[in-house]
């Protein structure tokens, strides 16, 4: 579904991402791990178009999307979340969600004047979808709260829900459980599984917490210093000396 070939990105003299080729299969949960500063987020930024690649090719659903604008990539069905959670703080939880769908009526220039009926019907529908998702995640009570007033863990969940509202084919999550409690982490795990099973969404997840991906992911890629150093099932990765070396340092 998603494929990169020899993708590279340099910042000055630093090779942030160096010749990385991966494949994400449809209907799976895949993980990307690596120590701090390994280039994981840069890699995500390249795939989603927030950064331009220096060389290499990115294909999504068979289409070349290298260096396409982020909003166009998102419209193709690949939506991401951010490590530094990016919600819309001064909008309510519900507003955060209903603004997300890509087929919203009424976002064009002429719509608010000429398509008032269609717009209202569409909004009603989007609100009911949003309310259902909120119920699913147990956030119904806070739906009229400003997003900035939510605890951090719930902001992370809100960001994920907002991405789900766009009806994506694949979700790229950048550290979905960074800085949140164990409860939220478990909740997130359940929710991701549920999304995969019920909506058939493919996941590609960056995570620091090894345990999180060990349980969730079917296949893992490991990068260090911008280079792909290993790939395999969680068991294979756990026992791979290169990975242990990258995480813990060599035994000398």
């Amino acid at each position: 579904m998603l494929e990169t070939k020899g993708i590279e990105k340099n910042f000055g003299g630093l090779k942030a991402v160096d010749n990385v080729s991966i494949k994400v299969k449809e209907g799976t949960i895949m993980g990307l791990i690596g120590p701090n500063g390994a280039g994981k987020t840069t890699f995500f930024n390249l795939i989603t178009g927030f950064l331009g690649a220096d060389s290499g090719e990115i294909k999504f659903k068979g289409k070349d999307i290298t260096n396409l604008k982020p909003y166009l990539i998102s419209r193709l069905g690949m939506v991401r979340t951010f490590q530094q959670t990016r919600i819309f703080p001064e909008m309510t939880v519900l507003e955060n969600l209903i603004v997300a769908p890509q087929d919203n009526v009424g976002e064009g220039f002429f719509d608010p004047i000429f398509f008032r009926k269609a717009l209202k019907d569409d909004q009603k529908e989007k609100i009911s979808i949003a309310v259902a998702i909120l119920k699913d995640m147990g956030l119904s009570d806070q739906k009229d709260e400003y997003a900035k007033n939510l605890p951090y863990g719930e902001q992370k969940r809100l960001e994920l829900m907002r991405a789900v509202m766009t009806s994506p084919d694949i979700l790229l999550l950048d550290e979905p459980t960074a800085g949140v409690s164990q409860d939220y982490t478990d909740n997130m795990k359940t929710y991701i599984k549920k999304l995969k099973n019920e909506r058939g969404i493919t996941f590609f997840i960056i995570e620091h917490k090894m345990s999180f991906l060990m349980e969730l992911a079917e296949y893992l890629y490991v990068i260090d210093h911008g280079k792909l150093i290993a790939s395999g099932t969680p068991e294979e990765i756990q026992n791979n000396p290169k990975v242990i070396n990258a995480y813990l340092g060599s035994e000398g």
Partner: protein, 292 residues
């Protein structure tokens, strides 16, 4: 008061909803004023002329938007400031068209279908109707998903892009819309005052507009109107109190600044804050928004 309301509703779209501090307001105001004045003086009907003023301002707004598409925050403010100064220089130096610093005297009062609005009462009546019209149109926009999209730009452009929103285009529309109402406001100003010259479109007036929007409440059109009423009252009050002009002028500045400081401390969101979408209500009424 009403002229300022219309202009500032336009500004509110850009500053309050989209979240960009634009210092180009005086430029759009001036473009609208000159366009409409010159058109009416060469025989074009009043209504067409003010709309033409608005449209020309919107075109310049669109161009400004294209140039500043990558800019945010302070950079955007500076670029708009430069644009405003350039426009003013054009007003001053294109003497063949604008008569430069001499200004344009004898701009006709509005005339619609043969009826000439010459008394102040008729004037007020016409302008109130126009204000209501502008208010209805902009409310339709800002309450719609389009308005919500504008807010996502203010809140977090990157996140909005990640959701597949064409931010550059939306931002441009917002600036052009704001410029349109700025232009219409300028046109109305020209026909009210009947004399314009480049000194009417300096930075000072942009700041006056910004104070109106900030004091009234960013992201709320009624707040903007309230802000305009309040600040124009403050400006005109010394005249009725019989204070000497020199004293009144400095007093004004002090009062403005005090209002700003007090509001920032007591009500940082302005007199009337932004409205919140409430779910119970909206699911029944389909996207209605009311005062939070």
């Amino acid at each position: 008061m009403i002229i300022y309301s219309i202009t500032c509703i336009g500004l509110n779209i850009v500053v309050g909803y989209t979240g960009f501090f634009s210092f180009a307001r005086a430029a759009f105001f001036g473009i609208g004023a000159y366009t409409s004045a010159l058109l009416v003086m060469s025989g074009v009907p009043f209504l067409i002329a003010i709309i033409a003023g608005g449209i020309l301002a919107a075109i310049f707004g669109w161009i400004l938007g294209l140039i500043t598409v990558e800019m945010t925050g302070d950079y955007f403010a500076l670029a708009t400031f430069a644009f405003a100064e350039m426009t003013r220089q054009v007003f001053i130096n294109w003497t063949g068209l604008t008569r430069g610093p001499l200004g344009l005297p004898g701009i006709p009062r509005p005339e619609i279908f043969g009826f000439r609005f010459s008394t102040n009462q008729a004037y007020l009546f016409l302008y109130i109707i126009l204000l209501i019209l502008v208010l209805i149109i902009t409310e339709m926009y800002v309450k719609s998903p389009f308005g919500r999209l504008l807010k996502t730009i203010r809140e977090d452009e990157t996140a909005a892009q990640s959701l597949g929103k064409n931010i550059a285009k939306t931002k441009n529309i917002s600036i052009a819309m704001g410029a349109f109402f700025g232009g219409v406001g300028g046109a109305l100003y020209a026909h009210y005052i009947t004399y314009i010259d480049p000194s009417a479109f300096v930075l000072h007036i942009t700041i006056f507009f910004l104070i109106i929007v900030i004091a009234g409440g960013m992201g709320n059109n009624y707040g903007t109107i309230l802000g305009a009423v309040m600040l124009v009252l403050v400006r005109e009050l010394p005249r009725y109190l019989g204070l000497s002009p020199a004293f009144a002028a400095s007093l004004q500045q002090m009062v403005y600044s005090s209002i700003l400081v007090i509001l920032m401390l007591v009500r940082p969101r302005g007199l009337l804050g932004e409205r919140k979408l409430l779910s119970e209500q909206s699911s029944e009424e389909g996207g209605q928004i009311r005062n939070a």
